[in-house]
């Protein structure tokens, strides 16, 4: 399998605080890759740099063999940020349409993708409502639908399931698994929920700007002789100190 995302010796600090310290990562095509770690670990900074919205102080990032930042590449990356960056005065449909236009989708394609992504996140009936009337979960779902709008090869989702009820969470995860399996998409997910981490093909545990340990969920549990990933995380953390 080919490498979809390659992160090479990336460091970043804000002022004096070191947020990321010489991160190396290779993400294969068609994988669900999870960044697991407490808030403030540097997960968001890392995914933002992969999208090209933040510049590393040192090191390079390649996505689909092209160096970041690269404008054309953004066409292939669907990004969902941690905060819901939505236009509150507009309806859900207008939000989707706006982003679809930014990705230069044709009119027919726009319609198809809006129907598909709205259906995926169960928002079809609420599309005509203004986003300001949406609940927190609905806004989260709309953000996810926007990330999918241009049918990108790579999905980067920053805490996608926060504030979403368990049933829909399961539905979204099933869809992510399907996108991976049937469409061969590469998906990066950040989360601090360990049962979601179990569903990833490969996980990297991030803390204080470094990767504590990485591997498939099974490998990690075997390696640390742990029953679940929570335990792995605690043990990996201790081993580092």
């Amino acid at each position: 399998m080919s490498i979809s995302i390659a992160v090479n010796q990336v460091s970043k600090s804000f002022g004096k605080k070191m947020v990321l310290n010489k991160i190396d990562l290779n993400i294969e095509e068609g994988q669900i890759y999870g960044f697991i770690g407490p808030s403030g670990a540097g997960k968001t900074t890392l995914v933002k740099m992969i999208v090209g919205m933040d510049r590393p102080d040192a090191g390079t990032i390649h996505v689909l063999n092209k160096q970041i930042p690269n404008l054309e590449l953004l066409q292939e990356i669907g990004y969902m940020s941690q905060s819901d960056a939505l236009y509150m005065e507009l309806t859900g449909e207008e939000n989707l349409k706006f982003f679809a236009a930014l990705y230069k989708l044709s009119k027919t394609e726009q319609k198809k993708r809006i129907t598909y992504s709205a259906d995926l996140v169960n928002l079809t009936n609420e599309l005509k409502m203004r986003v300001s009337t949406y609940s927190g979960g609905m806004k989260r779902r709309l953000s996810l639908a926007i990330a999918l709008i241009q049918n990108p090869k790579i999905l980067i989702l920053d805490e996608p399931t926060v504030g979403i009820d368990p049933e829909l969470r399961l539905g979204i995860w099933n869809e992510l698994l399907r996108l991976k399996k049937e469409e061969g998409k590469t998906i990066i997910v950040t989360t601090h929920v360990m049962d979601e981490a179990e569903k990833c093909d490969y996980i990297a545990m991030v803390r204080d700007g470094s990767i504590l340990t990485r591997g498939t969920p099974k490998e990690l549990k075997d390696l640390f002789n742990a029953e679940n990933l929570d335990e792995v995380f605690l043990k990996a953390g201790r081993g580092n100190e």
Partner: protein
């Protein structure tokens, strides 16, 4: 096409926000009308108390729009108690005028009127006296005006300044807060994760808010000319053109300064620093009388050039070529601010 999508979105958001629309389109009209009424109001006739003044002179004072009240005896206390603007006492053929002077402008005008009436009155009584001063009072002097006419009021000179200032102020505030909202809500960052270019964002913002600035300018100018009857000697198109340039400057300055604001509240804090000082240099106070370094400050204010051009066109009837240096200055301001905007967005992404 991305620019077009962004412009469409900005317009849609603006149209949904009825209050901001009202602020943009109706507030300037309200303030202009209020200023018009305030500055065009006839001042009330001053109240003058007189003691020992012959009825002939009283009649003349009354003809001169002075409210005369006669007293047997009066002192300074009378002025205060009766709230008179002045007191005229005649003793031994000489006049003594006491002014209340709580409002110097009223006092000055009363003093002038009384002086005029007495000057015209006294020589009449001394007819035949060769040393009597020449009588100027019977409109023997003809007055001509280079600009405007005897009907010109202060508001006619003030209105071009006000029009320019409103366009600047409201466009500055609304475009600045517009881009700020985009920043604080995270949507600007979200935009930066799409293949849009920084130039496309800046262009869309200029055009999107520019559309509303055009509508505002047309409404304000047409209203002032038709409803408030403001003097417009030059071409209406030139007035609109100057205001458009000023709106462009305000737009680019507003979006630029929003970079340095973390919240709407901080954006409002720019008003006393950036907007209010421009009023002082807009021509309400003549720039010529200022100290050299103050004049230099005035010359880095975009509103100074715009109001100078507007006064030129509206009041003096100048053509665009007469005010080309003002126009050029505005264009330079806009270009510099737009370039800085592009640079400021680099914080988000290099491309």
């Amino acid at each position: 096409m991305r620019t077009l999508a962004l412009i469409k979105r900005i317009c849609l958001e603006m149209v949904r926000d009825k209050r901001t629309l009202a602020l943009l389109f109706i507030a300037p009209l309200l303030i202009l009308s209020l200023m018009y009424l305030l500055f065009n109001g006839e001042s009330a006739d001053p109240k003058l108390g007189v003691v020992n003044v012959d009825s002939d002179l009283v009649g003349k004072l009354e003809q001169g729009n002075i409210n005369v009240k006669q007293y047997e005896k009066a002192t300074n206390e009378t002025i205060v108690e009766e709230s008179l603007d002045g007191l005229l006492i005649m003793e031994d053929e000489s006049f003594e005028l006491t002014l209340q002077n709580s409002d110097p402008s009223i006092a000055k005008s009363l003093q002038m009127k009384v002086n005029q009436v007495i000057a015209s009155h006294v020589p009449l009584k001394r007819m035949g006296n060769p040393t009597a001063p020449v009588d100027f009072s019977n409109n023997s002097m003809e007055t001509n005006y280079v600009y405007g006419s005897s009907e010109t009021v202060f508001f006619d000179v003030l209105s071009p300044i006000l029009i320019g200032f409103f366009v600047f102020f409201f466009v500055f505030l609304i475009s600045g807060i517009g881009l700020l909202k985009e920043r604080t809500s995270g949507t600007l960052e979200r935009l930066m994760s799409t293949p849009i270019r920084r130039g496309e964002i800046v262009t869309a913002y200029l055009v999107g808010y520019g559309i509303f600035a055009v509508i505002q300018t047309v409404i304000v100018v047409v209203y002032s000319i038709s409803a408030l009857d403001i003097v417009l000697v030059g071409s209406l198109w030139n007035v609109i053109f100057i205001n458009l340039l000023l709106a462009l400057v305000a737009l680019s300055l507003g979006t630029l300064l929003s970079t340095f604001a973390a919240s709407e509240f901080q954006m409002v804090q720019f008003i006393p620093i950036v907007v209010i000082p421009q009023i002082f240099f807009a021509g309400i106070i003549p720039l010529e009388g200022m100290a050299g370094w103050l004049q230099a400050i005035g010359k880095i204010m975009p509103v100074y050039y715009a109001t100078d051009a507007l006064k030129g066109v509206m009041y003096k009837g100048l053509s665009l070529s007469d005010i080309s240096s003002d126009i050029l200055a505005l264009i330079v301001f806009a270009l510099v601010f737009i370039a800085l905007n592009l640079f400021a967005l680099k914080k988000y992404r290099k491309l």
